[in-house]
């Protein structure tokens, strides 16, 4: 187990260094640099001074070298756009993305497994057919389309805020009031991100449950006189959640991808929007810090996926321990 964790951590570190370095070098080599932010009429001296200030006058390899030697001491450079160290900016945005991703994952898991267990353990009926049909539809609605549709509904009905993370008046509200405000703004992006995944979970869980209830041990439990509800939710359920645990790692990757466009459409101030802005402005240190944060998410996500697999399947657990 310890060896497995150490290997995972080493892989995460390599991924982190590789992606952020690649992002830094690529952005550095891309045509145009931050001085385009100064406008077309900026005097030559100011352009030169700005280039010198951010190390853009040195060759890319030397710049990368000094960046990485400072990064080891947790100094990731200054953002050109915000004129501040990139660390706090990225940590804040990554926290917002994590909030969105975790709440979407929880909603998708609870909704998907709950409904899937229900439809998989029942034979047929109008409710099962309804849930199944809805899932097939919702699976085909990608986050881009889902978030636009939800924003449209919110704009029409005014049930939910259409974007952002805080109301205009909530800046100096009390701690609880602003938390409630954030939660209220979180509903729409969470649904946009979670519903397609919940539908995929529902289908997967439904199939797996339908297989599980046909297994001999379920028959044995019926023979012992176990109540149907206990049978489904305790005996068969433990076996049936394995496929979902197996795709958990994949789902976390798709959450990260999906959250980019959801953040964009709903103006959620997360890492996706920040990276987009940084890329457009050629803000190289901010880009590389965003890439590092993304790689960190990914490493955590695959680790969580493996843990889920180990929890669900004793065979995997034994494989890790030996």
């Amino acid at each position: 187990m310890a060896r497995f964790l150490i290997r995972r951590l080493a892989f995460a570190l390599v991924l982190l260094v590789c992606t952020s370095s690649a992002a830094l070098l690529l952005t550095r080599l891309a045509p145009g640099d931050v001085t385009s932010q100064l406008g077309p009429f900026a005097p030559r001296q100011e352009i030169e001074a700005t280039r010198a200030r951010f190390g853009l006058d040195r060759n890319p390899i030397a710049q990368w070298g000094s960046w990485i030697s400072r990064a080891v001491r947790l100094d990731f450079g200054d953002s050109f756009l915000y004129n501040r160290p990139v660390g706090p900016i990225v940590v804040r945005a990554a926290g917002n993305t994590a909030l969105l991703a975790i709440s979407a994952l929880v909603v998708a898991t609870v909704l998907g497994i709950g409904l899937g267990t229900f439809t998989g353990s029942r034979g047929t009926g109008w409710l099962t057919t309804l849930v199944r049909g809805a899932s097939v539809m919702v699976i085909s609605i990608p986050p881009l389309v889902m978030s636009l549709v939800l924003v449209f509904i919110a704009a029409r009905t005014r049930w939910l805020p259409t974007g952002g993370m805080l109301s205009a008046g909530a800046v100096d509200a009390s701690w609880t009031a602003s938390a409630a405000d954030v939660a209220w703004h979180l509903v729409l992006p969470t649904l946009a991100l979670a519903l397609p995944i919940a539908a995929a979970f529902e289908r997967l869980q439904s199939q797996s449950m339908a297989e599980a209830v046909r297994q001999p041990f379920v028959l044995a439990a019926i023979a012992r006189g176990a109540a149907p509800r206990v049978l489904v939710w305790r005996h068969a359920w433990r076996v049936s959640i394995r496929p979902i645990c197996g795709v958990y790692g994949l789902v976390i990757g798709s959450l990260l991808s999906g959250s980019f466009i959801v953040e964009f459409v709903t103006a959620w101030p997360g890492i996706g929007r920040l990276m987009y802005e940084a890329l457009r402005a050629r803000d190289i240190y901010l880009v590389s810090a965003c890439a590092a944060a993304g790689a960190g998410f990914l490493a955590l996500g695959t680790l969580l996926g493996d843990v889920m697999l180990a929890v669900a399947d004793p065979r995997v657990r034994e494989g890790l321990e030996s």
Partner: protein, 322 residues
């Protein structure tokens, strides 16, 4: 179900192919007096024949239009090389989905836009599948260090969240590019990110199949490796390739739409589903005018069609966009 999926996809491809004939107006023709006009109502009854009434602006600020009920403009069938339209001189174009922010017909743009979107998606799918099959086949057949290298590379690419890599690679290029360059650039990026998904599975299949009797027999009969691979081993992966292609196509279509939506895809003069969706980022407009979402509905129908087509062939209906 399968038939419904095939019919839906067939209909969409047919509409894209016949776009110049089906679209009532050229996609970039502007009607300066009809910015944000609502869909034209087609009337029957109050005058002989099928006809429309011209729209007059009641308030530019509120984007309110009034119908001139006293004027009747008949629909022209099969004239000017177009299925149905109105007389260009009448000032009442047939806007079946309304007009966009520049006064261009949304329905015509949707039809023309499907061409770039679908062509890019299909071509990228074909290229990624062929490249993936070749690389996977070579890795599985050759074994040794080549296999190890190719497998590590494909594993690394699969782990990365595709939309961020697409975003980063696209942003590395000049931000404004002509349509044809954008097409080739996006095609290259999609193929680069798509092949590893295909290659990993093909490698596993070839690894098993190369030890089977027919492959051994072909080698014994003196067939060179390229022939064994192309004629004997890759056909065994045919079904798998189909499944992978069905996963890649919706992902690529979505990626194009996402890129164009955030302004890093096609220029606005090239109608695609993504560039058309940019109108929907104006929330005030989106709330008033649901027809902005027509391209989103089109994306949904393509994904639904692919899902319906593939679902009944026994694949687990989990579609995770990466």
């Amino acid at each position: 179900m399968r038939l419904a999926g095939a019919a839906l996809l067939g209909l969409i491809v047919l509409a894209a192919a016949a776009a110049p004939w089906l679209a009532p107006t050229p996609p970039n023709q502007r009607f300066p007096d009809l910015l944000y006009a609502p869909p034209t109502r087609v009337c029957v009854g109050d005058a002989p024949g099928v006809h429309v009434h011209p729209l007059r602006i009641a308030s530019r600020l509120e984007r309110r239009f009034e119908e001139d009920r006293s004027t009747h403009i008949p629909l022209r069938w099969f004239s000017g090389g177009v299925l149905v339209s109105t007389d260009p001189g009448s000032g009442a174009p047939l806007l079946l989905l309304g007009a966009d922010a520049f006064g261009r017909d949304r329905f015509s743009r949707l039809l023309h836009g499907s061409r770039a979107t679908l062509a890019l998606g299909l071509l990228a799918t074909v290229v990624a599948t062929i490249v993936g099959a070749l690389i996977g086949g070579i890795a599985g057949y050759a074994g040794g260090w080549l296999d190890a290298l190719l497998s590590r590379v494909s594993e690394f690419v699969v782990v990365l969240p595709a939309i961020y890599v697409t975003l980063a690679l696209r942003a590395m290029m000049p931000l404004v590019l002509p349509a044809s360059t954008t097409f080739l650039l996006l095609l290259a990026i999609f193929a680069l990110l798509g092949w590893p998904m295909v290659a990993r599975g093909v490698r596993a299949i070839v690894l098993v199949e190369r030890e089977r009797e027919y492959a051994v027999a072909a080698r014994a009969a003196g067939a060179n490796p390229a022939r064994v691979l192309a004629r004997h081993l890759l056909p065994a992966a045919g079904g798998y390739l189909g499944t992978q292609a069905s996963l890649l196509l919706p992902a690529f279509i979505l990626a194009e739409s996402t890129m164009s939506y955030v302004g890093l895809g096609f220029p606005d003069t090239t109608p695609t589903w993504g560039t058309m969706l940019q109108d929907a980022s104006n929330i005030a407009l989106l709330g008033d005018d649901p027809w902005v979402l027509a391209p989103a509905a089109a994306i949904f129908m393509v994904v639904l069609g692919v899902n319906l087509l593939v679902q009944s062939t026994g694949r687990a209906p989990i579609q995770l966009e990466r």
